[in-house]
């Protein structure tokens, strides 16, 4: 499916990488707040969140419904939307796992950053098919100047 790329400022992408490095070797996670339109989707802000999977934090992450509601509220206060999520894959590729797919929602953008030996590597973004069978890769377009809220 042809979609407009996901736009994100360099600085926000760096913050996602920094979050993944900071929590390494555990997975980090957070919300992508921004604007979604017919022709474009842009990340305007991030809400870093705690990974609630205390039992397997090296290869699992979880955002509780209370944190989801917090992310929605934060977006509403900024007059933008909750458009997706980011998480890290420590010492694993930046590709969605079967577990990722099984737990994903359509419409949201899912950014994955690979953290290899404590350093950020590839970054990818994905959107789930309507029938939940697979993901489509979503092109990431980094932009330099801050977007206005």
């Amino acid at each position: 499916m042809n979609r407009a790329p996901l736009k994100i400022q360099d600085e926000l992408l760096r913050r996602i990488h920094a979050h993944g490095v900071e929590t390494y070797p555990h997975e980090c996670c957070g919300a992508l707040l921004g604007r979604d339109g017919d022709a474009s989707r842009e990340v305007i802000d991030l809400l870093p969140l705690a990974n609630r999977r205390d039992d397997l934090p090296r290869n699992r992450f979880e955002v509780t419904p209370d944190d989801v509601r917090l992310a929605e509220k934060t977006a509403r206060e900024k007059k933008i939307e909750l458009i997706g999520w980011y998480h890290s894959h420590p010492d694993a590729p930046a590709r969605p796992s079967e577990f990722d797919r099984d737990h994903a929602w359509p419409w949201y953008s899912y950014i994955i950053v690979s953290i290899q030996k404590g350093e950020s590597r590839d970054t990818t973004s994905w959107r789930l098919h309507d029938d939940r069978a697979a993901y489509d890769p979503e092109e990431i377009e980094t932009v330099g100047s801050p977007a206005s809220i």
């Binding site: 290869n59 955002v63 419904p65 999520w85 796992s97 737990h103 929602w105 359509p106």
Partner: protein, 94 residues
């Protein structure tokens, strides 16, 4: 009895792009059935193949999580708001 069901953003495309839907129901289970009867595409996102609510689908009646009430048998009254709230999970291992 009319209750308002709040549709989370990722599922609005399967619910006529509406933020909320009014349905007649006396329990959460009836409200969700009414919703998925009206919008059949929602079903696979809310329920697994065995018909159970997916583990990462959370339902609130007003501000109360139904897991701490009577789950899907939680009663709803005229004017109540039923919110479908996703929890988000994933991770590197298959």
């Amino acid at each position: 009895m009319a209750v308002k069901v709040i549709i989370p953003t990722p599922l609005r495309a399967y619910a006529g792009k509406q933020e909320s839907i009014e349905v007649a129901a006396t329990t959460v289970s009836e409200a969700l059935s009414a919703l998925t009867s009206q919008f059949s595409e929602l079903k696979k996102h809310l329920f697994s193949d065995d018909g159970r609510l997916r583990s990462f689908v959370n339902v609130y009646v007003n501000d109360e999580d139904i897991r701490y009430l009577q789950k899907e048998q939680t009663a709803v009254r005229d004017g109540d708001t039923v919110s479908i709230v996703p929890s988000i999970a994933g991770g590197a291992r298959n």
